[in-house]
Symmetry: C2
């Protein structure tokens, strides 16, 4: 194989911040990006070659995307796997990760089944097709986290259920109906911390980034600390589990693998994202090759880059700290600009909404002199100085 | 001052690789870039918000650029300083570095005069307005480098003159005429090595990057090694001279300051570029903040970033290794992709021409275990494996 530039054009379903950062990473490689997104002038649009305005499940728009690009991928799980598969076949261009993988991950129950069958440790779970199923699970586990099988993200569609008589209400909240619900119930995991491994599958090669530690609040990621503040043994176990997960998944690309470290030091897989993941944003400055560059390389079948960490790193999300939607204008940015080795990433969203992901701040410890906890705290303080005006 | 994002839009005269890398660096900061370039779909176009197609000296086009942006800059010395000044005044937007600085630097004699008056060491030089002037300089110095005062770059317009009877021919070659030529003659510098310092002037603050060592061949930059393989004393002297140069220059922005280290360990200023410079490309991966991000910050009056070096770094230009122009297609790119901590930068030029700058490769030494010379040689070999097909 001879890799040449200018390279193929990458077609990406979704043009949010992940598509934007993918386009930023692809440009130096001579790879152009066209995104498909329903929002005109979506976050990726200003840096991508072009945007097709259309829905993630619009077969005609996905077909047009396939026609004018050389390889297809997606940055959002709402991409329609069937339309991706047929557009790929019709235009004769590959799509990665495979639509089958996307389809499996879109259904949290199918995802858990796939992992279990591959011998990968996951929290105990039960399929919930009725109120009775949920009640049985609550009895069995003494309380569960109820999850809609499809469409949930950032904790949406997740409802804790502590008693059998809460089952019907919980289903209505999580899934929208208590009749023929498509859900699953998981035991509560007594976890010590939440970890993640960003992995990448290339053409016959697999690489993983160092283990990150994720701080969530109200089920939304706030900060990632890399390396994770855990033991070497746990980090190795997390890496091993992540490699097993990658082995079980089909198709090239980056995968964000969210893990629980239990109070006994065991690793359980929580969720998988078939795309670059919020907990991998640290890699832009913190690793030799960013997760976004890796995704572009992997989807194109190009050799993968080094996942070596360059410095201890914390990334902190800038969420919409507002009560009502309004035009986005973030102030006090000079605080970040002035800080040694702090990097601002603004996603270009016109409107700030409560808890919307608007950007992130990454700080690397170039001298290696900070305690990880101190780096986390100072980065959090720095991020908190930013404010929407 | 409160810095806010989305930030101002930056208008850039010139849309070559420097404009492209500037747009790549500006995007994460929430700064959009519009470029002005005569070549439709110029290298910066795919990553910039927009391109205005027009000449660098087209007052109407520069006026349109000023109207739709919040701050003006340029990535090419061919930008017209008078039109920049009037467009800036008319639209009420700042332009940096100042048109006066650009005007001075466009005229190599005026540049040398400005530096001399500021007490900055430069090679001995004489103004050449006639054949007789050049002959006198050749007699005085025993041979000179004749330079056109305006329009030369990458050694174009430079002609060595060893004997007085070569004067008329040399002027015709360098300036195009021996009658009323606008030229200057410089002594040949017996230099040990060529160095450069990338400096940046912000709003009341000045920073410099570590000293780079530049390897030229046929007056075109081939590789930059950072830190330079010189003594600490010489590096300190180079930094001090660079700071004096920055003090003597007006306006915010990045400046590329090319220096000679003489065989006696003295530092002489060769040339100044009022913009990000080829010898600063290493900073994208090798420094905490790249020269391109610094330029965006400086022009906008935002706080500057850290110029700390992250790892020993070599960047190597990918030049057009062809004899005739043809469509650009670079092969063997996998060699670069496979190498640990090697980074490809492709400039997106459709046509490869002899010695045209098509891209560059940067390699960082993440373990600090390589000798600089070994890193230079292995990077050069890596670059040489690439080939136009």
């Amino acid at each position: 194989m001879t890799t040449t530039v200018p390279g193929p054009t990458l077609g990406v379903v979704g043009g949010g911040q992940l598509g934007r950062m993918l386009a930023e990473a692809a440009a130096p490689l001579g790879v152009e990006v066209v995104v498909l997104d329903p929002t005109p002038d979506c976050p990726a649009a200003p840096v991508a070659r072009d945007q097709i305005v259309g829905g993630f499940d619009d077969p005609e728009a996905i077909g047009r995307l396939a026609e004018r690009t050389d390889a297809l991928t997606y940055e959002i799980e709402l991409a329609d796997p069937d339309h991706l598969a047929s557009a790929s076949a019709e235009a004769g261009v590959p799509v990665h990760p495979t639509p089958e993988t996307l389809r499996t991950i879109q259904d949290k129950f199918a995802e858990k089944e796939m992992l279990s069958e591959a011998g990968i440790p996951v929290p105990a779970y039960r399929r919930v097709d009725s109120v009775a199923d949920l009640q049985a699970a609550v009895e069995e586990f003494g309380g569960v986290m109820l999850k809609a099988r499809e469409g949930g993200y950032d904790g949406r569609g997740n409802v804790p259920v502590h008693a059998a008589d809460e089952a019907a209400d919980a289903l209505r909240e999580a899934v929208g109906t208590a009749e023929d619900p498509a859900a699953l119930a998981e035991t509560f995991v007594d976890f010590e911390r939440e970890l993640s491994v960003i992995g990448v599958q290339g053409d016959g090669e697999v690489r993983t980034f160092p283990v990150g530690e994720n701080v969530h609040e109200a089920e939304i990621l706030r900060e990632t600390v890399v390396p994770a503040r855990t033991s070497e043994a746990v980090a190795e176990r997390a890496q091993a589990v992540a490699r097993d997960v990658l082995d079980a998944l089909d198709g090239r690309g980056v995968f964000g693998i969210e893990l629980f470290e239990t109070s006994e030091g065991e690793i359980l897989v929580n969720e998988i994202a078939p795309r670059p993941h919020n907990s991998g944003h640290w890699s832009i400055e913190g690793a030799v090759t960013s997760q976004f560059e890796q995704h572009a390389r992997a989807v194109l079948g190009w050799p993968l880059g080094s996942t070596r960490q360059r410095a201890p790193t914390v990334s902190a999300n800038v969420l919409g700290t507002v009560e009502e939607p309004r035009p986005a204008r973030l102030g006090n940015v000079e605080r970040v600009l002035e800080r040694e080795a702090a990097h601002l990433h603004w996603y270009g969203k016109d409107e700030v909404r409560p808890l919307r992901k608007m950007g992130h701040v990454t700080v690397t410890d170039e001298t290696g002199g900070s305690e990880p906890t101190a780096l986390l705290e100072s980065t959090r303080e720095l991020r908190d100085e930013l404010g929407f005006q």
